[in-house]
């Protein structure tokens, strides 16, 4: 292993985020290694999306620092290196899959021959000329994911990307995530599905705005004293 494998893709120190009157993140510190697939797990409403938004640099923060790929989050430089897929598909529902991809490819300067590649990756080849509002929710999410893959980003931040997908496609997407990581990208994937957690290199468990555990799936299982991740999570989260 070269020393480059030790470098951090994400380095967060004492991050505090307030949304309205609610202190969503009361002070989080988190380091994520480069070239890994990290799962961010926790119940909905625990602050996962807010944390991801801070990493992408679209969240106004109260205090703390967020370093991404060795530079502050959200700068002009980061917009070339970081791609972000929100939970709700952020694509134009009144355009076709192809028209959406053509538009975003022109904005980020991706070559047109990336379009058929990403369409294949997310399994939308049969629907490429269908308007998004005629497609299912899962297909719209995949179109949104395809946009993020256009730029071959160094950090890919995905908020619940596999919701509503059939198991076969979900497995294929996880294979894609690992292939991207072995090609040098870092992936941060939020999920509340525990069986996906086992497919991550590293896990970050969150609850009520705080990080309650980090480590490999094996370490989490061991620490929680259980053979399955769900029981381990419950053990680590403590009694309600």
């Amino acid at each position: 292993m070269s020393s480059a494998d030790d470098e951090l893709a994400i380095d967060i120190r004492d991050l505090r985020v307030r949304r309205g009157s609610k202190l969503v993140l009361p002070g989080i510190s988190l380091q994520i290694a480069a070239r890994t697939v990290t799962g961010l797990l926790g119940p909905s409403g625990c602050g996962k999306s807010t944390l991801l938004r801070a990493i992408v640099g679209v969240q106004r923060i109260e205090s703390g620092s967020v370093q991404v790929l060795g530079a502050p989050a959200g700068t002009a430089l980061q917009r070339h290196r970081v791609a972000y897929v929100t939970q709700a598909p952020s694509v134009y529902s009144d355009l076709t899959v192809r028209e959406n991809l053509q538009y975003f490819a022109r904005i980020i300067g991706a070559p047109a021959d990336r379009i058929p590649i990403v369409v294949d990756t997310v399994g939308l080849a049969p629907n490429v000329d269908a308007r998004l509002d005629t497609l299912s929710g899962g297909e719209q999410s995949r179109a949104s994911l395809a946009v993020a893959l256009l730029s071959e980003p160094r950090l890919l931040v995905l908020d619940e990307p596999t919701v509503g997908l059939d198991p076969l496609l979900r497995r294929e997407l996880w294979d894609t995530f690992h292939r991207l990581a072995s090609d040098g990208a870092t992936l941060l994937v939020s999920s509340h599905v525990m069986d996906e957690a086992a497919r991550c290199d590293d896990l970050v468990l969150m609850r009520e705005g705080r990080i309650i555990a980090t480590g490999t799936p094996e370490a989490i299982r061991e620490c929680g004293g259980s053979t399955d991740l769900e029981s381990a999570f419950i053990a680590l989260a403590g009694p309600r």
Binding site: R79, Y92, G109
Partner: protein
């Protein structure tokens, strides 16, 4: 000053803001593609203004003086209203569906998005003004002493004013219900005070002063001057005020496009 850099793709302004021609054209094409998919909106944009001009033509059949006065300027006023509505809804959708946030997380300048929208809607306004003009001036015998192209040119300017105001106001609307209410709230009083319904010199002093600072007053005055073939300094002042209002509204509107939100 504008200059091209080595790649020829990016144009830089001395202020530091960059405008990417590629991103502007891509945005304009995307907006036009959305309109192309929405045939009913396209039909409404192109059919409603000439239909309303025709309606007014026959409503004022018995009082020919009134329609002679307002008929031609009206042709250039419709794009203002239509583009205001279309832009405020389109930009609200960008904000609520997350596409704006996605674009702001990409290497795209705010100005690219705004100018892209402007380009697409200016084109739509030109077609709308041309269709309305053909119907009004040829089929309905609406009279203009000035050249028809000048009416169309002013109509495009008004469309850009409507677009810029709609873009700015969309920041203050959380829902589409609210966005459409800004038309009667913001645009209608300006149209009422512009001189369309009655000459401004006959208004109470306070209302005249208010109308002096509203951009639509100058948009309407310019159209009246163009259709009456009264060129001269005042026409240029009207054009400059409309153009200046577009720039100010766009600048304020661009300040409402935030990279980071709460």
């Amino acid at each position: 000053m504008w200059r091209l850099d080595g790649s020829g793709k990016r144009v830089h302004r001395s202020g530091g803001a960059t405008l990417s021609i590629r991103a502007v054209v891509a945005t304009a094409l995307r907006v036009l593609a959305q309109l192309r998919h929405d045939r009913r909106t396209l039909a409404l944009v192109l059919v409603v203004p000439p239909a309303l001009v025709a309606l007014l033509r026959y409503v004022f059949d018995g009082v020919p003086g009134t329609f002679d006065r307002i008929g031609a300027p009206l042709v250039g006023l419709f794009p203002l209203i239509v583009m205001f509505l279309v832009t405020s809804i389109a930009m609200l959708r960008e904000r609520t569906t997350g596409t704006l946030e996605r674009l702001m997380s990409m290497p795209m300048a705010k100005l690219d998005l705004l100018v892209g929208y402007g380009l697409a809607f200016a084109l739509l306004a030109a077609v709308q003004a041309a269709v309305t003009g053909v119907v009004a001036f040829w089929l309905l015998d609406v009279h203009s002493d000035g050249p028809v192209w000048a009416v169309v040119a002013f109509a495009i300017g008004n469309a850009l004013l409507g677009m810029a105001l709609g873009l700015l106001l969309s920041a203050f609307a959380a829902t589409e219900f609210q966005a459409v209410q800004f038309m009667p709230a913001v645009l209608l009083p300006q149209i009422v005070l512009s001189g369309l319904l009655g000459p401004r010199p006959l208004m109470p002093h306070a209302l005249r002063v208010v109308s002096d600072v509203l951009p639509v007053t100058y948009a309407y005055d310019g159209l009246v001057r163009v259709t009456a073939d009264r060129t001269g300094n005042w026409l240029w002042i009207d054009a400059l005020v409309v153009a200046g209002s577009v720039v100010v509204a766009l600048a304020l509107g661009s300040a409402t496009l935030r990279r980071r939100t709460a």
